[in-house]
């Protein structure tokens, strides 16, 4: 779905609104952005933006407890993660303190721009300055153009953004740097002063911008990095207190770039690798925890042997190669499973509850997951499961049935959409477990065998003869 472009008429309206209207300003109307530096990283399939804002609270205004960031509606739709930190302390004692960011429902902004507020840990006094660093990631915003390419063509994409930072505050000085993966830039909008140095574009330095200004730019450049998109990922984590955590992951992988048109010539692909299949990818790397065992990689046909596992003491790397290279619009489905030792992941907390410490997200590097479901299957007899994830997820509890189960195993299901590599942070699931429940399984086996012996004894003691034996 192509993102909507502000037409010239709408743009005019925007300028008119900012010049004429008295749009209700946010409560912190004393804040001004002294300088803003925006670094956009376009070297992969996702857009990573690092924004450094130096804000100042005007003398005579009230204490500011939040700083607002504005995004266009299309950006908000594709926003995967938004993080903010603030440097505190002097030179040597600089510590980056993470700040919480919330969607804000404040005053209407022109053209439906949405505001997010960064809550400051200590309010900003009048006349004070502070520096805030913001990182946000946008997925599915790069539009391949041409939308369909042949096997031996390079992939070119459109990137749309604003030359000027969209902000509800006055901006005294700002500059934007855009980094490309290669030297080939087909075209870019010029909003003076604009300059280009090799793989980097510079839009700036712009001075004295009014609040809510938006100058759309369009950059058309070459991006042959693998556009791996995992449409659905279902991860199941099974905990067994007998010593193993088994993880099974089912992937639906797709190449999300320019669609492939025409025939696929295997001969051309293999004989001239530098000229053919530049936008395709044939292997993916998954980062797994160390001390992993029994790794398998299979799909519905059977085992896929084209994979390599390299382990060391800090991590394991699984390099998988699907049965065919993936070109634009092609899909492939596969399952990866592995086992991990229990003592690395399950711990006992101070209040007697147990918890499992796992990494959220997808182990495949540099991929976007459209729909992620994580199921944590707790052992039989677990009570009061409580997940604690550092960001918003949909959670619910259900029951799963597995080997030697009587009542079923409590399962915690976490769902999230639009997951990127920055979401690979640890999360915990707490639960209560009485160790006596571990005996339930051998007791079940013992009673089954004992039933057989009792049946033998009963048969041997019964007299089934028709005539009395002598």
């Amino acid at each position: 779905m192509p993102p909507s472009r502000p037409t010239p008429i709408v743009l005019l309206l925007l300028f008119a609104l900012t010049a004429v209207s008295s749009s209700p300003l946010p409560p912190e109307d004393g804040i001004r952005v002294v300088s803003a530096e925006k670094r956009i990283d376009l070297t992969g399939p996702i857009v990573k933006v690092f924004l450094t804002l130096k804000v100042e609270n005007a003398p005579g205004a009230s204490d500011a407890s939040q700083v607002l960031l504005a995004f266009t509606p299309t950006e908000v739709e594709h926003l995967a993660i938004l993080k903010a930190t603030r440097a505190e302390g002097k030179r040597k004692k600089k510590a980056y303190v993470p700040l919480s960011v919330e969607a804000s429902d404040l005053a209407a902004t022109p053209n439906g721009a949405r505001l997010y507020s960064v809550l400051l840990s200590t309010p900003l006094k009048p006349g004070e300055k502070t520096t805030i660093e913001v990182l946000y990631v946008l997925t599915h915003t790069l539009e391949p153009f041409p939308a369909e390419i042949g096997q031996s063509e390079s992939q070119l994409v459109y990137f749309r953004d604003s030359a000027v930072l969209l902000s509800p505050y006055h901006c005294l000085e700002q500059v934007t740097y855009i980094k490309m993966p290669s030297n080939r830039i087909e075209s870019f909008t010029r909003v003076d002063p604009t300059s280009r140095a090799g793989t980097e574009l510079k839009y700036g330095i712009y001075s004295n911008q009014m609040p809510n200004t938006y100058l759309p730019i369009l950059v058309h450049y070459e991006n042959n990095r693998p556009f791996a998109v995992v449409e659905e990922l279902a991860r199941k984590v099974e905990i067994s207190h007998w010593g193993n955590v088994q993880i099974t992951e089912q992937y639906k992988l797709k190449h999300g770039g320019a669609r492939h048109k025409g025939v696929f010539s295997r001969l051309e692909y293999q004989s001239r690798p530098s000229m053919s299949g530049m936008s395709s990818f044939k292997n993916l790397l998954a980062r797994l925890p160390p001390r992993v065992h029994s790794v398998y990689y299979r799909d519905e046909i059977g085992n896929i042997s084209s994979s390599h596992l390299r382990t060391d003491s800090h991590k394991s790397e699984l390099e998988i190669e699907p049965r065919y290279p993936l070109f634009g619009g092609w899909h492939c489905t596969f399952t990866i499973g592995y086992g991990l030792p229990l003592q690395d992941f399950v711990f006992e907390s101070d209040d007697g509850r147990r918890y499992i410490n796992l990494t959220f997200g997808c182990p495949l590097l540099d991929t976007v997951v459209d729909d992620l479901t994580i199921k944590v299957v707790l052992p039989e007899g677990s009570k009061n499961p409580q997940p604690s994830v550092p960001f918003e997820t949909e959670q619910h509890i259900e029951m799963s049935y597995s080997y030697l189960d009587v009542v079923g195993r409590t399962t915690v299901v976490l769902k999230k959409k639009n997951v990127v590599g920055e979401h690979n942070v640890p999360f915990q699931v707490h639960y209560e477990f009485n160790p006596i429940f571990m005996l339930a399984e051998p007791m079940m086996l013992i009673s089954a065998v004992f039933l057989f012996f009792v049946a033998c004894i009963a048969y041997l003691h019964m007299d089934l003869s028709i005539r009395k034996s002598l």
Partner: protein, 77 residues
Amino acid sequence: MQAANSISTPVPVAWYPTLAVAMVAVGLMLTASFFIYEATSSRKSHSLAKEITTGALASVFLGFGSLFVLLGSGVYV
């Protein structure tokens, strides 16, 4: 801050295959002695107490043995 005491298994994991073989072997020997007792003594002189104890002991060993067989072969129940 939570204490990081990792949970350990009741039996060291490295012992699973050995324990499996040992327990199943003892269980099968007890089963054999149960059936030998049944076969050698006459119907009237069967002592129920002896049968039940041998049966119970054999089932305990066979039950734990089959649990360790399952765990040792990778089916972590």
